[in-house]
């Protein structure tokens, strides 16, 4: 395009626009190497060649690239700082968790040692090999023997809970018949039930086979049964049933105790949670069902309600 051609064209047609890219685009579509630069009035104030544009565009691209590189560098620095911080936090959390485990291990050890001697010597006295005891002394001794066992249960519960939370509890699945395991769990709560004249009735199918962790199964059942006995008033009943249902075994424990208000059905599975009236009646730590819930999270083969 020559200067004469420019002068005869419409203003809007020839203006290269305000950006390098727009001017280049116009040259490309019009297939010419030069464009006039016009004032608002339409007066030509100069010419732009494709060479000028090439240099301008090149500079822009170089500027853009270096800007982008700068932004990327900044981003990377932020990212690295973030990752570093995250690693630091992780390490701190791991350290804290390790300390917690060590503390629990030490505490459990420190509590078990004296319990061992209390339980042992009480048992020695009860055997009366060191001399006969009066009825009253025997009764006192029974009290001395009961509480350490209860303490031991609490320590074991706390230890289990922390093991599960730390993901250190391994479940060992095996196929077994639940009936003998249930008999076992029943016999462990019977003394307490008898002492309160709480009747335990069990209805079990001849044999119900499951695949589960036998020890934890028994622990859950024991917790449910001892809760049943604990919160059932003297002379009440606890009923336990087991039967195969679909591909599962359904086990239910019910009692004639105070029951759990409907609005607290979820909360009873939180650790340390106890239904308000239970705290003063039955004692306990409120850990039994929480252990169940955590076990359930780790092994989704069961359900409890």
């Amino acid at each position: 395009m020559r200067v004469e051609d420019v002068m005869t064209k419409d203003v809007s047609f020839c203006n290269p626009g305000t950006s390098d890219a727009a001017a280049a685009e116009m040259m490309w579509t019009q297939d010419c190497g030069v464009l006039p630069v016009l004032e608002d009035s339409g007066r030509v104030v100069g010419m732009v060649t494709d060479r000028d544009l090439f240099i301008a565009l090149g500079t822009t691209i170089i500027r853009d690239v270096s800007e982008r590189r700068q932004i990327e560098d900044q981003l990377r620095a932020v990212q690295e700082k973030y990752i570093h911080e995250l690693e630091l936090r992780n390490r701190e959390a791991e350290h804290a968790n390790k300390l917690k485990t060590e503390f629990l291990s030490n505490m459990s050890h420190e509590l078990r040692s004296p319990l061992h001697t209390v339980i042992g010597f009480a048992e020695l006295l009860a055997e009366e090999t060191e001399g006969p005891l009066s009825e009253k002394q025997k009764r006192f001794l029974t009290h001395i023997q009961d509480d350490p066992r209860y303490l031991l249960d609490i320590i074991n519960d706390l230890l289990d809970l922390s093991k599960i939370e730390a993901g250190r509890l391994e479940l060992r699945h095996e196929a077994f018949d639940i009936v003998p395991v249930m008999e076992d769990a029943l016999s462990s709560v019977r003394p307490r039930a008898t002492a309160k004249s709480v009747e335990i009735r069990s209805h079990m199918s001849v044999s119900v086979a499951v695949i589960a962790d036998r020890l934890r199964f028994k622990q859950i059942l024991h917790n449910l049964l001892s809760n049943g006995v604990k919160f059932t008033p003297d002379g009440g009943k606890v009923r336990v049933e087991a039967a195969p249902r679909d591909r599962f075994a359904e086990i239910s424990v019910s009692d004639t105790g105070i029951g759990i208000p409907e609005d607290q059905h979820r909360a009873v599975f939180d650790k340390f949670y106890q239904v308000r009236s239970a705290t003063k009646d039955g004692g306990g730590t409120g850990l039994g069902l929480a252990i169940w819930k955590l076990l359930h999270v780790h092994d989704s083969a069961g359900a409890i309600s």
């Binding site: 050890h109 509590l111 061992h116 001697t117 209390v118 339980i119 042992g120 250190r168």
Partner: protein
């Protein structure tokens, strides 16, 4: 009558074991730390060694390691006794070479059963 070495840094723990063992007619040698347990084992040459794992100076694992170097104890049952109950403790003790692992607290009948298991085999 068999000879049993009992190592525990706590006196009541030692007396409990001594009482149970003497009731069954066994002779008891007491040690209150790992070094005493080693010295006692070498002098007394017991038929059964019961070691608490947590002891000052030298712990149960340390005593076991020393005893394992001594041919005279090659056939002596060495039982770990501990109040620690973390998962993996039992495995660690058995892997280290203890013949058996007793977790405190333990009922007397279970304790007697465990002791006789090692003393009756001749």
């Amino acid at each position: 009558m068999k000879r049993v070495l009992v190592a525990d840094d706590k006196a009541p723990g030692r007396e409990l074991l001594r009482t149970v063992l003497e009731q069954s007619g066994h002779a008891v040698y007491e040690a209150s730390d790992g070094i005493e347990a080693l010295r006692g084992s070498r002098e007394f040459l017991p038929d059964l060694i019961i070691l608490d794992l947590h002891m000052p100076v030298l712990d149960g694992f340390g005593v076991l390691q020393e005893l394992k170097r001594d041919q005279r104890f090659a056939a002596t049952p060495i039982v770990a006794l501990t109040a620690s109950a973390m998962q993996g403790d039992r495995e660690r003790a058995l892997t280290a070479g203890f013949t058996s692992y007793i977790a405190k607290p333990i009922s007397l009948s279970a304790l007697r059963g465990e002791i006789e298991r090692f003393l009756n085999v001749d």
